[in-house]
Subunit: 564 residues, 2 copies
């Protein structure tokens, strides 16, 4: 239980006076033990290696447009690290690193990986951390990452080593600012740790630096707990594993509670706005009575009424079996997937922008018939939220809607109806939960710790070999760490274009839940059983040693072809 | 990752066909490893022991009244188990066990402890589990707890082995029903696992059985995550340790998130309606910027405005230091501790029962001046909750008030005011959390697993020695398990009386946070530093092996005189 102050030599003594970053922090025993935990490296990174190119690459879509947008980088090959008899020629590098967007467990280990690469393989190098995200690059706000500074963050959660931010380098002026920083700091390389947008941005920056004949090369790293940045070469984004395990621990506990109490339906909303990977993974880990997958709801063009009926049907069937409890998982972005809701919101935004909203409700006549019907179908509190909570542009804030409470309320209404019709006679009690912030900053699992460390170490090697516009890629993840592959994938090969304001914009398409891929198919094949029978699994708290501590998640393993 | 079905021999093979209880369940790797985990016993329970009596006991207050209420049991000595050269004479017993009230991690291990005692020390015994709490006793609804039935619940969370309930055995008819069950099943003993009320009830039942010359003896066990059932002989209630560690893991994660993002104040409401032990323990584990302790709020006769100002002052001081983020812990029962709120609610109940509540608000003139002022001070959503959410008796449901959201709203208003006065210029963003159900049914920590197993094993020994009206008491908890003491404490010695409806009722007084005891004093001595400086600790997920896995909680250790 003894909490300990942290020092760079791993000792646990009281820190004297102010120290940078976490050096003055007090650590729990588990934090301390994680600090002392040695990180394994894939065997290719443990001895001499060289970087070899693969074949020329194309794009995920519209290669001609991508080629126009990235004249210097388009078509470049991906790279692999392979064992080599001789040590690679190296020279000291000056490298910057930046964290972009929301936190994901493991970010600190990416930085530790870059740092250790530079220390071990490119002596005399310097690593600079840009503070507060891409704004730190534009404003040239950075901190030199020394051994003392970096040490206390090894295997620790959060992004607080250098913090993150959501600014983007977009305008010509901003690209110029980045150029000025790169020149001023004499940067050989920059590692951008972020999601799909940030990696697109990293590639644009790499292209721009190349076009300006700067020596600064740019490498991306795949980060997001949402799990929606992935492809063949980048099997998963870091943070997804830890976040899903934290949520699944809590879901498992709530399931045991539901089964013990026998009288609550827990509606659990989970993070993941654009894609439902987190909900699907948590379902595979815990076997809930229902899990709504946004991508399926969209594909089947479900209405809110359909969704309500789906849940209500399960509740009624379970009531017939004597079970008046259950657990339902809901992705944060659910209502974004329901076409009729999108239509209603678009109409509301229009009305709120141009019309007077009268108390008596005459304004509602401006809604189209089906939108009006939907609006009337919504619980009153949700109607109010839709009308009152607006963003600075006056738009309805879908993000503020507590979907789990909305569904509870709609299910209640439907059950009342069925009760009146004699089709249901039990008692329903809904409990709403939102599991979000608790999962973004947990101590990274062994998988995320190791994966991130390899991503960072590999990014250092890619920069040393002169690569730019690649995303650090660690593969063969179903095998033990020693057998993992390391390399880089051309960011342009992940891109397609979207037309915005009449111009083509490059985008890395978010990886959505694929309805014909193994994870969803496994869920779909089991959900009817899980709905009615109680097949709950309680994964328990993340363990750092002992049984299960080195496993990754179901989604990744199923995608890699494992039988679970 | 391989999930496994559970069998009583510890193997992980697919269960064939339906099986009782969890036998058909699928277990996670961590659940399976916990199932295989061997439970240590205090050394006194590992070889021969005898039960010796201490001196005669009295009551916690009003001994004369307690003596009248418990003519057969009052004054009986507490008992200790001591090593003995000879094995105690034993005979097979028929024992019933019941879980009463809300879930707490470890309940299953109490039952495993009783079961193993009977198996190992009183061969030929039978253990019956009453289903669904005390109602199971009254209705004679039970299940025979066989080795196969009990095995899958070892070291597992929840109460689902036999489930729990909140019914009470109160009326003469209900006592008679319990008597009928005891006679019908020929019970030698009954173990009641519950909180303060359930243990009071256990003692009343023991007294009744004795008065009716029944052979059935009754032993209580101290259960509640709230930590408010404890005294010198019963140093802690089980479940508190696990629940606080689960909440502290999440709080630690949210703290790392706050520090990484730099822009949110997280207001975390924690379970614990009557006492604030959970909030205090979580504060000691994680070092938040503020933790409101209900007992202190009551002792200082704080108003809601005081509390709001206390938090707002911290926010302003931190803003001056450049920190626009933080974490505030709030006990679920906070507003029950604020005298003016109690007064307002009493007046509202009166008005709602007898008067017409008009839209225009003329009804408010019926509130006393200060209650009216307080009502107007409350955020609109809270006003609405107070007026709309009523229990079946028409009373305002304080439990439904989301205190964390109320405080965020009041802090926002106060900050706006200070902004207008030029005393605050930063931006405040509150995030509300309620950590409750996630903690009640987690896998019990090593401490709770071991403590409960000893409580149960000891309860078996007490029944064998003919004891009744005792609460199973395991002590010396700061030492290793081998050195723990085992015995029973006269339940009447924990009791006082309360006058209800003109009659004296026996009660075990809830143990509140003592403002002059070590845990609160430690918090009070550090909170000013925690408020301003960032001393966050992230305890991380509960570990079952490795560093920290065998520690208990700060509250218990400080109460036992340990220096932390």
């Amino acid at each position: 239980m003894a909490a300990a102050a942290v020092t760079s030599n791993g000792g646990a003594v009281a820190a004297n006076g102010p120290a940078p970053g976490r050096l003055a922090s007090v650590y729990s025993e588990v934090q301390t033990s994680r600090l002392l935990h040695t990180l394994p490296l894939p065997s290719v990174l443990r001895s001499n290696f060289s970087v070899v190119d693969g074949p020329a690459s194309s794009a995920a879509g519209n290669p001609d447009e991508i080629a126009k947008l990235f004249p210097n980088l388009f078509g470049q090959p991906s790279a692999s690290l392979v064992p080599s008899a001789e040590p690679a020629a190296t020279r000291p590098l000056k490298v910057g690193v930046v964290l972009s967007g929301g936190q994901a467990p493991g970010g600190h280990n990416v930085i530790c990986g870059i740092f250790d690469y530079l220390q071990e393989r490119a002596k005399g190098s310097t690593l600079l951390g840009f503070k507060g995200g891409p704004a730190g690059i534009m404003k040239c706000k950075y901190v030199e990452l020394t051994s003392d500074f970096v040490y206390p963050y090894r295997n620790q959660g959060g992004f607080d080593m250098i913090c993150s931010g959501r600014d983007k380098i977009e305008t010509p002026e901003q690209f110029k600012q980045a150029e000025d920083t790169a020149n001023k700091l004499d940067l050989d390389g920059l590692v951008v740790i972020g999601g799909d947008d940030s990696n697109t941005n990293a590639c644009l920056l790499g292209e721009y630096f190349r076009s300006r004949n700067l020596k600064t090369r740019v490498i991306g790293c795949p980060k997001t707990i949402d799990g929606d940045l992935k492809c063949k070469e980048v099997p998963t984004s870091f943070g997804f594993d830890t976040a899903c395990k934290i949520y699944s621990e809590m879901i498992g506990n709530v399931m045991t509670d539901a089964r013990s109490t026998g009288k609550y339906y827990h509606f659990v909303r989970l993070m993941g706005r654009a894609a439902s990977h987190i909900t699907l993974e948590c379902a595979l880990q815990t076997h809930p009575n229902a899990a709504l997958i946004g991508e399926e709801v969209a594909a089947k063009k479900e209405t809110l009424k359909n969704v309500t009926n789906y849940i209500t049907d399960i509740i009624c069937k379970r009531a017939d079996l004597g079970y008046n409890y259950g657990v339902i998982l809901i992705p944060e972005g659910l209502i974004d997937f329901i076409p009729e809701v999108q239509k209603l919101i678009a109409e509301l935004n229009e009305i709120l922008a141009h019309d007077v909203v009268d108390e008596a409700g005459a304004w509602k006549s401006k809604l189209q018939a089906e939108s009006r019907e939907l609006f009337e179908f919504l619980p009153k509190t949700i109607q109010e939220q839709l009308m009152l909570e607006r963003d600075p542009h006056g738009n309805v804030q879908v993000a503020k809607i507590e979907t789990e409470k909305m569904l509870i309320s709609m299910v209640e209404t439907e059950l009342e109806k069925r009760k009146a019709e004699g089709r249901y006679s039990a008692h329903f009690r809904g409990q709403a939960h939102f599991f979000g912030y608790e999962g973004r900053c947990g101590l990274p699992t062994n998988f995320d710790s190791n994966y991130c460390y390899a991503l960072g170490y590999g990014a250092g090697a890619l920069l040393q070999s002169g690569k730019t516009g690649l995303i650090s890629s660690v593969g063969n993840l179903a095998a033990p760490v020693e057998e993992w592959t390391v390399g880089g994938t051309a960011l342009t090969s992940l891109m397609d274009v979207e037309r915005r304001h009449g111009k083509f914009k490059p985008v890395i398409k978010k990886a959505m839940v694929e309805l014909d891929a193994a994870p969803f198919k496994k869920y779909a094949s089991l959900r009817d059983e899980w709905a009615i029978k109680n097949r709950y699994i309680s994964p328990g708290p993340i363990q750092f040693s002992g049984p299960g501590s080195d496993d990754s998640n179901h989604t990744l393993m199923l995608e890699l072809g494992a039988e679970l």
